[in-house]
Amino acid sequence: MHYALLKTFFKIGLFTLGGGYAMIPLIEAEVVDKHHWVSKEEFMDLIAISQSCPGVFAINISIFIGYKLRKIGGALAAALGTALPSFLIILLIAMFFHRFQDNPVVASIFRGIRPAVVALIAVPTFNLARSAKITWVNCWIPIASALLIWLMGVSPIYIIILAGLGGWAYGRIIKPTA
C-alpha cells in the first residue's frame, strides 16, 4: 500500500507540467477513477482544503490522501512520491546548467526567456484576482500588499499575517456572521 502510494504519486509528479492546477485532472484520474482511494465528492473537498492551506498544492493533496489511507506512513510515502521526480530532475539540471549558462547561445536564449517568464507570472495574478472576487471595495488590499512588498521591502509573511488577522477582525467586529 505504501509502495502503491509512492508509485502513484511519483507518476503524478513525473507527468505533470506546469504544476498546481494543471495536476488536478491527473491526480483525480489516478486516485478517484483508477485506485478508488477517495470518492469524487471527497476529492472535491480535498481540493478546496488543500487550496486554502499554505504550501505546495499538489503536496498538500498527496499528504491528505496518504494520511487518509495509511496514517503518517502513508502521508510520508505520498509526499515523497510527489516531490521525488521534481527533486531528481531539477538536481540533474542544476548540476549541468551552470556549466552552460555563460555560453553565448544559452545566455541569449535566456535573455529571451526571462521577460516571457515575468509575463507568465503576471497572467495568474489576473486570473486569481477574478477567483478571489476582487471588487472596488476590497481592491485596496492587493494593491497595498503589492506596493508594500515591492517598494517598501516588507516581507510577504507580515502581509499574510496582517491579512488573516484583518479578515478575522472584519468577520468578528464589522460584519459578524451568524
Binding site: L17, G19, G55, F87, P104, V105, A116, S155, L162
Partner: protein
C-alpha cells in the same frame, strides 16, 4: 560563511516559505524571491530558476526550492562541491514540505469539521485578496534591468524584452497558448534577436 549556518538558514527560510506560502507555487514566488535574492543569487539567476521550474515536470514550488537550495551552496564564495549543494537542495525541499506535512495531518485529524466555520471563512476573506497582491508583487519585483535591460544601456534588448513580455502575456491570457510553448518560442526569439 560556515556551511552549517547556510544549511540552518536554508532550512528556516524554506520552512517559513512553506508555512506562509498561500496561493500555491506562484503565490510563493514573492516570498521565495524576497528571501533568496540578493543573499544567495541575483534576480536574473532567480528568473532562470523560475523558467526552468516551469518547463520541468512537477510542482513549481518544489522545483524552485530544490534549485534554490542548490544555488545557495553553489554560489557561496567558499566554493563548496556538488555533494554539499545536493544536501542544500534536499534541506530546502524538505523544509518546504514539512509545514504542509504537519498542517495537513493536524487538519485531517482534528480540524476537518472546522474548515467551513464562519471564523475560518472570514480569515480567508482577508487572505485571498492579499495573495493576489503577493502575486502582483512577484511580477513587479522581476521587472528590473536584469530581466529587461534598460533603454539607456541597451535599447534593442529592452525593446525586444518588452515585446516578448507583451506577446507572452497576450498569448497565454487571451489565446491560451501553452506556457511551456511560449517559453520555448521566447527562447528561440532570444537566440535569433539577442545573440
Amino acid at each position: 560563511m560556515d556551511i552549517a549556518l547556510i544549511y540552518l538558514e536554508l532550512f528556516w527560510t524554506f520552512f517559513l516559505i512553506g508555512l506562509f506560502g498561500f496561493g500555491g507555487g506562484y503565490g510563493m514566488l514573492s516570498l521565495i524571491q524576497t528571501k533568496v535574492v540578493p543573499a544567495w543569487m541575483t534576480t536574473g539567476q532567480f528568473t532562470d530558476i523560475v523558467a526552468i521550474s516551469q518547463m520541468t515536470p512537477g510542482p513549481v514550488g518544489i522545483n524552485t526550492a530544490t534549485y534554490c537550495g542548490y544555488m545557495a551552496i553553489h554560489n557561496d564564495p567558499a566554493g563548496y562541491g556538488e555533494a554539499w549543494a545536493l544536501l542544500g537542495s534536499f534541506i530546502a525541499t524538505f523544509a518546504l514540505v514539512l509545514p504542509s506535512l504537519i498542517l495537513m495531518i493536524i487538519i485531517a485529524k482534528l480540524f476537518l469539521k472546522y474548515m467551513k466555520t464562519p471564523t475560518v471563512q472570514s480569515v480567508f476573506t482577508g487572505l485571498r485578496p492579499a495573495v493576489v497582491g503577493l502575486l502582483a508583487a512577484a511580477t513587479l519585483l522581476l521587472c528590473n534591468k536584469e530581466n529587461f535591460s534598460t533603454p539607456s544601456t541597451d535599447l534593442w534588448q529592452f525593446s525586444i524584452s518588452v515585446a516578448l513580455f507583451i506577446a507572452t502575456f497576450i498569448g497565454t491570457k487571451v489565446y491560451h497558448i501553452n506556457p511551456i510553448k511560449m517559453i520555448v518560442m521566447a527562447g528561440f526569439a532570444g537566440l535569433l534577436l539577442l545573440y
